[in-house]
């Protein structure tokens, strides 16, 4: 598949109208099948307009925008702290990754210092988030191919991760736990033991899923050589994340543009060669194990650091603790100013990219010196990765379309923002 150069291959991304138009004279009559926005396996409200010849996909047009919530625009009318909670709602399977990307961008704008304890906690929680996001991907991917037990096994472990999130932030999904300057609250005392309990079982559980799928002949039949996205095309489309790494390109921002001291952790980036659905599966499975490895190191680091500040001591950015407000005039003023007005970053812009479970997630913030961002833009991996879908799907069957869509793991909240 990789022999022909990109230029000679059909990289076009059709719009629904290209497919639904009547056949011209001399053109072959095809059937147009409308999959979605309400369909069991489009992972949200994705609409796929599929042109079928029998059961073979001739062309497919992804139609997005059904979940458009205007998050980027709404942020312009909210202070920086209040905009944070909206980031949870974009990629709702990895809210902490979105939180992280946003707070890193604001912190870059403010040029503020983060206590090491907060950074280690961020790394730990974001890697747990990666595992939980990949577990949802694994479950739904397997469910799309009708291997339904894996779904429930995966959700059993995800439940444990969500319990950890609930423990630290009080919320299971929309955590908003990372704040500009650090964390929202300190980590609770039972946190290390709870995380350790999870890390003790997760490797065995991943083995369990792999026992069910990795060498299963039916799974191989359904995923091997399906939806090939070669390296050249992946780069042309701007695909990032496991889709790119499965095509053999080692591009992981945790290694290549380290943030949050990722360069001080010992982990590896799994890559594969074929770029098919099976390789994307293998890469994600290996990533989960690597994430667990990073979690262990981060937990150890938290232990070594001992108790300490969990948020920056700069009172212009993070509010003072309640105890201080009661007997310090200064603190009271800071609290009042932060809550009524918010902080004012200097004029300028900041761009921060991180490796979210789905690929390269970036936030670009323009500040005009007021307490509200002038413009926030998110470069969301799902949206970009979805562009490759028509290229990957042409020539395969309807059943494969479902499999390869699942293997790209799009989250529609993130696609439409």
């Amino acid at each position: 598949m990789t022999s022909a150069p990109v230029a000679t291959r059909d990289l076009s991304i059709p719009s629904p109208g290209d497919i639904t138009r009547p056949a011209l004279a001399g053109e072959k009559e095809t059937m147009v099948l409308n999959m979605g926005p309400h369909h069991p396996s489009t992972h949200g409200v994705l609409r796929l307009v599929v042109e079928l010849d029998g059961e073979t996909v001739v062309n497919v047009a992804p139609d997005v925008g059904f979940l458009h919530t205007g998050i980027e625009k709404s942020m312009e009318s909210k202070t920086y702290q209040k905009s944070l909670v909206m980031t949870d709602r974009t990629d709702y399977l990895a809210p902490l990754s979105n939180n992280l990307c946003y707070v890193l961008a604001v912190e870059k704008l403010l040029n503020c210092e983060i206590p090491p304890r907060a950074t280690a906690a961020r790394v730990l929680l974001v890697e747990l988030q990666r595992i939980s996001s990949h577990l949802v991907w694994l479950g739904t991917h397997a469910l799309d191919l009708a291997a339904m037990s894996v779904f429930l096994y995966g959700f059993r472990e995800r439940e444990q991760i969500l319990d950890i999130f609930e423990l630290v932030s009080g919320a299971r999904m929309m955590t908003s736990y990372f704040r500009v300057g650090g964390l929202a609250y300190d980590l609770p005392a039972e946190f290390p033991a709870t995380v350790q309990a999870f890390l003790d079982i997760i490797d065995g559980r991943i083995d369990e899923y792999e026992d069910l799928l990795t060498h299963n002949p039916l799974w191989l039949e359904r995923t091997k050589g399906i939806g090939i996205l070669d390296a050249e095309a992946a780069v042309a489309f701007g695909v990032t994340g496991p889709g790119l790494r499965a095509a053999g390109i080692s591009w992981d921002l945790r290694k290549d543009m380290p943030y949050c001291d990722y360069d001080s952790y010992d982990f590896a980036v799994p890559i594969a060669q074929n770029g098919d659905t099976y390789d994307r599966y293998l890469v994600r499975m290996a990533e989960m194990r690597q994430s667990a490895r990073i979690c262990r190191q981060a937990l150890q680091r938290l232990h070594d650091l001992g108790p300490g500040p969990y948020v920056t001591t700069d009172r212009k950015i993070a509010p003072p603790p309640k105890s201080e407000i009661t007997h310090s005039m200064e603190s009271l003023i800071h609290h009042f100013k932060l809550w009524t007005e918010g902080f004012k970053p200097p004029r300028g812009d900041a761009f921060v990219a991180i490796e979210s479970p789905r690929g390269e997630l970036a936030t670009y913030i323009v500040s005009d010196g007021s307490p509200k961002p002038y413009r926030v833009h998110m470069r969301t991996p799902s949206f970009v990765n979805l562009q490759a879908l028509p290229y990957m799907a042409r020539g395969y069957l309807v059943a494969d379309l479902v499999a390869l869509t699942a293997s790209m793991d799009p989250v529609l909240g993130e696609v439409d923002r």
Partner: protein, 402 residues
């Protein structure tokens, strides 16, 4: 035949129909509970729970099938505007009737009625096997018609898939059964069961049994061959546009057919209602309580044994559903035509050759056939193993770029 005989026959038919539908209802409960267990869930455990004085509740869920039925009865019955109305309404009937009439030719047990007949087999047909094969494949008309009449693209794709699938697996299924017919030298189901007194046909017809299991799963469009309804691709396939009792009828036909296929597998390969020591038990009861009680004990025990064997096969069906991903349309065709059909032909040839060459002793020919069948199966597995490009995950520690 007096009119009394006719009345008795009608009563028997009604009892058999009710038995089949009840079996279907409880099979759904069995499946839901078992699937739940296999997937770390609880399953339906509320309907009909009986509170005990200690505050415990037992037998939760036993009324679930009734609750499901009531729910479906009270759903609004919608006919799509663009559907072909009469065909649309008739299709569930086409699906469910063949599923029900399969049961007349299956000996559910042996309860002598004193006049040489068997109370637990409604019709003793000379060509019962042909009848079973015919009736099991007629059911696909219901699905194909439903897919066409709904006037929905998903339904139509489902209907087309169903037709292709059932036609492809019909051949392998028929040839798998042929091996048994050659062994027993009869098309009668009761004769086939009687012929398995010494040795169940699963031993000499091991290859046939495996083919039959796979082909019958495909024939009743059951996971992993359920691509006719394939929720993830075709939403619901042929039954997408069906609701209320019409959907329930499709559901019913599918499950009754599944149980019936398992029942046929038991009859042909697992000795039907036969269990060792049954005759001794019946004789002992007859000696002390009389022939009527003895016959009843024989009948009920054989029925119980039959149902137990069907339950074991049903367990396998649910287990397979919980474990395996669905195959793809073209892979299904490949399996049917390129693997199962040649294997079934080999099985027929082997059976013929062994039965002609070897002495007429079921143990010798049985074991020889078993070994040959197993060898063929292993050989076919090795030969038909697909060649994939190898996948390797490389761990990159440090990128050259950084």
């Amino acid at each position: 035949m007096t009119w009394l005989d006719i009345v008795i026959l009608i009563v028997k038919c009604i009892v058999l129909t009710l038995a089949a539908t009840t079996m279907f209802a409880y099979f759904t409960l069995f499946e839901r509970r078992l699937l739940a267990r296999l997937q770390n869930r609880v399953g339906p455990n509320r309907a009909g729970a009986i509170p005990l004085p200690g505050g415990q509740r037992i037998l939760g869920g036993w009324l679930q099938p009734a609750a499901d039925a009531v729910k479906l009865f009270f759903k609004e019955d919608v006919v799509p505007v663009m559907a072909d109305k009469w065909v649309y309404i008739m299709a569930p009937g086409f699906a469910v009737i063949p599923a029900l009439i399969i049961w007349v030719a299956i000996p559910l047990g042996y309860w002598p009625d004193g006049a040489g007949g068997n109370l637990l087999q409604l019709a003793e047909i000379d060509v019962a096997i042909l009848y079973l094969l015919a009736v099991t494949s007629v059911g696909v008309y219901g699905i194909a018609i439903a897919g066409w009449a709904s006037n929905n693209k998903y339904s139509m794709l489902g209907g087309i898939r169903a037709t292709a699938q059932v036609i492809s697996y019909e051949l392998a299924l028929g040839l798998a059964v042929l091996g048994v017919v050659m062994q027993a030298q009869s098309f009668r189901t009761d004769t086939i069961v009687d012929a398995q007194t010494t040795l169940w046909y699963i031993v000499p017809q091991f290859l046939g049994f495996v083919i039959f299991l796979v082909a019958s799963t495909a024939e009743v469009v059951r996971a992993p061959f359920d691509l006719v309804e394939a929720e993830q691709e075709l939403v619901g396939g042929y039954n997408t546009e069906y609701g209320s009792m019409k959907f329930a009828l499709f559901f019913m036909s599918e499950y009754i057919k599944l149980i019936a296929m398992n029942a046929i597998a038991v009859t042909l390969f697992l000795g039907g209602w036969k269990v060792p020591g049954l005759q001794t038990l019946a004789d002992a009861v007859t000696a002390s309580f009389g022939a009527n009680i003895g016959n009843a004990v024989f009948g009920l025990t054989s029925l119980g044994a039959f149902l137990l064997k069907v339950t074991v096969l049903s367990f396998v069906s649910v287990w397979v559903r919980a474990t395996l991903p669905r195959v793809r349309y073209d892979q299904l065709m490949d399996l049917g035509w390129k693997v199962l059909l040649p294997l079934a032909l080999i099985n027929v040839a082997l059976t013929a050759i062994v039965n002609v060459i070897l002495p007429d002793n079921i143990w010798i020919s049985g074991i020889v056939l078993f070994v040959l069948g197993l060898a063929t199966l292993i050989g076919a597995t090795i030969l038909s193993r697909p060649k994939y490009t190898s996948s390797q995950v490389t761990m990159v520690k440090n990128n050259a770029r950084s």
